[in-house]
Symmetry: C2
Subunit: 241 residues, 2 copies
């Protein structure tokens, strides 16, 4: 299917099984809800990579549960051992209150080196082991933080890796990357999720939540989320906690 | 540089810093020794992925030590949680006594789904964090076990991922994959290592060693290694243990 089209699979054509990368954030939860609606038989993979915002793993578990995904692997991998990002370094400052003009332009200090490459490679390993036909992921390069590994050209390159670097790929059945949100705005993503009755109160987007998991409301991720809900004219149930 | 040419960097042109993927096997040790001789400032990454042959991690530590590599990360990641390979499943049989005609033709049950994609993605994360210019790896697609993710076309695809999916790549300084052994026969690899005074007694190749780490002598990896030493006319110090 075309990863940029969330409507490429009509309901009457069962698309097979897939591994969904579930971070616990708004985007991946929407992608998972979309895939469930499309009829994918889903397994989920979440990565416990030493992120400051570990409460998102609890969100990932909650989202998997409401979507009826029983095969959910939460894999620990200590990217903090390498260091190098405000998202894994508890002493680094997460940027706050940046303007619309700054967010998404340039690569911010919250960038985790090669994070999506690592996550996709793990999803690829899980998908091949499970015999899954696809990997579903919630990356988006419209209202995003400016990370290079969210762009469509990156996904296309990884698709080639998936084709050439796996047994199923060599056998002519490459595992397909499906990124239904790739070209949607944050408002369009939220509208899609609401149309699927996704409870966004289960999701966590903040890069720097407090010790009780409450969002800061001021990091890039919180600001993008708030702008999205505002554009839709909806209330964010998470912000109201 | 051309990854297939082990002599592309003359000694008088310092090639910068690199992360070497060090498994503890013969090939990666030779690649590391080559890179050290070439003048790379090396960090090493070994992956503890639930392999049956975990003694290779001790070999990796020994090789890093003799090569003077102080920055050596041994990263645990539980690929056995996904299952799917005789190399991570303690109950599966590792094939033994296969003929030359069988080894390297078809993908054997020892294939670990997407293993080199996972390893390269982690090396990419470490390399970008360390500011390294290159990743050195000992993959080889001549005398090899037939894994798809050892082939040059796979490495070329991953090179694109490294260029498009990292901050340094976007900034025009992509991390380079350097595979000095890609087109060498096992005998040529061993000849290279011996010319570099590499002690192969430190390395472990066996997929199914006994509880004391002694090689079985009969798996594909042992057979390829023995044939290589025989072709060179040298004695394998590890086989004599």
């Amino acid at each position: 299917m075309n990863p940029s089209s969330p409507k490429a699979h009509p309901k009457d054509a069962a698309p097979g099984s897939a591994v969904v990368l579930l971070s616990g954030g708004l985007d991946s939860a929407t992608a998972a809800a979309w895939a469930a609606r499309e009829g994918y038989r889903l397994s989920a993979l979440s990565i416990d990579y030493g992120q400051r915002h570990r409460c998102e793993l609890e969100s990932a578990r909650a989202v998997a549960q409401v979507l009826g995904i029983r095969d959910h692997v939460v894999l620990p991998i200590d990217l903090a051992a390498f260091g190098g990002s405000a998202l894994v370094d508890p002493t680094a400052e997460v940027p706050k209150d940046r303007s619309d003009a700054d967010i998404g332009h340039g690569i911010p200090v919250t960038y985790v080196p090669a994070r999506n490459t690592v996550f996709l490679s793990l999803a690829l390993a899980m998908a091949e082991t499970r015999g899954a036909a696809a990997i579903v992921l919630g990356v988006n390069a419209i209202d995003y933080s400016g990370y290079p590994d969210c762009r469509p050209e990156f996904l296309a390159a990884f698709q080639e890796v998936a084709r050439l670097g796996t047994k199923v790929g060599v056998e002519g059945r490459p595992i397909e990357l499906v990124a239904p949100l790739a070209t949607l705005s944050k408002a369009e993503i939220i509208r899609l999720g609401l149309s699927l009755d996704l409870d966004y109160g289960l999701t966590t987007s903040c890069y720097d939540p407090d010790s009780r998991g409450r969002p800061c409301g001021r990091c890039d991720s919180c600001l993008l989320r708030a702008a999205g809900f505002a554009a839709v004219g909806a209330t964010d149930p998470r912000a109201a906690l």
